[in-house]
Amino acid sequence: MARLPEALRAPALSVAAVAAALAAGAAVLRLAGYAPGPALWVMANAAFGGPFALADTLVKATPLALCGVGVALAFRGGQFNIGAEGQMLMGALAAVAAGLQLASGWAMPLVLASAAAAGGGWAFLAAWLKTARGVSEVISTLMLNFIAFWLVSWLVHGPLQEAAKSYPQTEMVAEALWLGRWLPPTRLHAGVFVAVGAALVAYGWLFFTASGLRLRVLGDSPQAARTAGISPERTAWLALTLSGACAGLAGGIEVLGVSRRLYEQFSPGYGYMAIAVALLARRHPLGVLPAAVCFGALEVGAAGLQRAVGVSAGLAGVVEAFVVLAVVAVSGRRDAPA
């Protein structure tokens, strides 16, 4: 095989990752006694066959893209932020808390800003622990995920529980704050644009500004960064906080666009899957968009697999997990920060 030109190698590896992922999924299905061909076809159909399917895929891809942009930024800056899940939850919590107080459509930017601030603040905790106390952000962001989860769990069972006290969930935020759904009866909402916008802004910032350059230098070589007079502490703070803000925004968008309230199982693991999204995108903010669509399609396809073939939920989950693993195995090489 001739050596691929430099510019094509990254996309080629991503495509190889997707191919390996499909093979892994097919192999699991095959082992479980299903014909993988028709089953994969069903998954593809559930994810892309028609406007409804496509809308569902994009709805799932939106939080994945926002979290994925955040994770990609952190990875670029050499910060292994695996806390997008917790940062997203904190963002959702802030959005609900603000959304329950403010009932006007004008407050929407404020609600989303508070979501981003909460996510960023949550990640900043980890950044501060790292620079002040030398705590690895891998540990601290993971721990903060648990704290965020149980905080939400307690709040929806206690102080923030709906007035009816029937189910562990908050009240809905005011209808004026809901993101518009175009293409009913699908759930496609305006948050898709926010995700695309965030990816574009992140791309522009990362590659065309001085602070973006500093971030990349720190990620590529901390020593070079220090030699060039770049403060590793401040840059690490910036990388993690921006990363958390993206994840927090994902939580806010998910609240206003889809769930409209908060409950324990708010995220089916978007924050964790975003790590795989960022790796599949080879840490490129724009690459995150197609990667997020791939994983959104996987989520929707797995549900479609259950509906159509009668594959049990557990097996559909295993297929999904193997696909993610294959993606990480192929695209994760030399890409995650050391």
Binding site: P36, A46, Y167, Q306
Partner: protein, 351 residues
């Protein structure tokens, strides 16, 4: 030089992936897997517009909040679906959805969009999403088991299993030596709470001083938490335990066996799970749910909250033979009759 082996390794590794795809792909397109499901996966995901008109089998789908292998609530829903398939000649599908309103809504929308005639959300927590989706799909009827809301195309079916728990409470109060019993729920949701407090009401109807501890473990699957809760209750003197915590009940039965006390099942006759200890189970009859679906398909059912209980034969009490004395049996029959006539409100006392 390390350069060559690295490149070689990468190449062979790529080859490996390609051959893997070829292999799996070849098998896939070559023929159907040995036990491929009968529901024709190829056509399954296609939109309803592509379906031939001659194929007019009504289509019914079930959204389960947990695994259908739980021997309880979800198994009961799946039993109903099988009855609907066999006796009503429907095409049926089932999907398990995460415990999240967003996923429940997605499940409803996905089936409705495929043109299903009836979509069942199996649990009261599906009610809000059913109402939201029902507006967009007027040609689909949404059924919510244990729901409390209705709309022109939303039917809620409430199985008053609590009527049978009431009987279980009466048995516990009659046979208990300590005067204490325990009731363990999954999440503290209305359907589950009603069941357990009906048990307490039944116990107190026989013995007003009966102490019945009610606790919720916050999960439908956490067997360890269920066992701990049961052990705690038993250590405080409970010698009868009833549960409504679905798959987590395995932990309750484990504790009951360890301490050798008696217990009740729930939803289905669960006596096989602890044959020496379970003396009866309040049951819901899946036929009741199938009957509501039949009425919907025949356009006989309007959107309302349907209550089904002992008198409709939709709720029953599966009792183990030989445990109940003649005298107690007479008492139970009298209570059953009173409940059927509506003379006793088993849900009277709630927390």
């Amino acid at each position: 030089m390390s350069f060559v082996p690295a490149r070689l390794a990468r190449r062979s590794w790529l080859l490996c992936v390609l051959s893997g795809i070829w292999l799996v792909g070849g098998i896939a397109c070559g023929g159907r897997a040995p036990d491929a499901p009968p529901s024709q996966p190829g056509s399954a995901g296609a939109p309803d517009a592509n379906r031939p008109d001659s194929d007019k089998k009504p289509r019914v789908a079930l959204l389960s909040p947990g695994p259908i292998s739980d021997d309880g609530w979800n198994a009961f829903g799946y039993d109903a679906l099988k009855i609907i398939e066999k006796e009503l000649g429907c095409e049926v599908r089932q999907q398990q959805v995460n415990d999240s309103p967003a996923d429940r809504e997605q499940g409803f929308r996905a089936f409705a969009q495929e043109g299903f005639d009836v979509v069942i959300g199996h649990g009261g927590e599906f009610a809000d999403q059913a109402l939201a989706v029902a507006r967009d799909f007027p040609n689909t009827t949404f059924v919510v088991t244990a729901g409390d809301k209705a709309a022109p195309n939303v039917v809620s079916v409430v199985f008053d299993t609590g009527q049978a728990s009431y009987l279980a409470g009466a048995i516990a109060a009659t046979l208990s030596k300590t005067g204490r019993a325990g009731a363990i729920g999954g999440q503290n949701i209305p359907a589950s709470a009603r069941n357990l407090y009906a048990f307490r009401n039944g116990a107190r109807a026989v013995n007003p001083n009966m102490e019945v501890a009610v606790a919720f473990i916050g999960s439908w699957t956490d067997t360890a938490a269920a066992r701990q809760q049961a052990l705690a209750m038993i250590d405080k003197g409970a010698d009868f335990i009833i549960h409504d915590c679905d798959a987590a009940a395995a932990g309750v039965f484990q504790a009951v066996k360890e301490r050798d006390i008696r217990a009740f099942g729930m939803q289905k006759d669960q006596s096989h799970l602890a044959p020496d200890h379970i003396i009866g189970s309040p049951t819901s009859n899946p036929q009741g749910l199938a009957e509501v679906v039949r009425r919907i398909l025949q356009k006989e059912q309007k959107g309302e909250v349907v209550h089904l209980g002992l008198k409709d034969n939709a709720v029953g009490f599966a009792v183990k033979k030989g445990v109940i004395s003649k005298e107690l049996e007479g008492k139970l029959n009298a209570l059953t009759l009173a409940i059927q006539k509506g003379e006793i409100d088993v849900f009277k006392e709630q927390p």
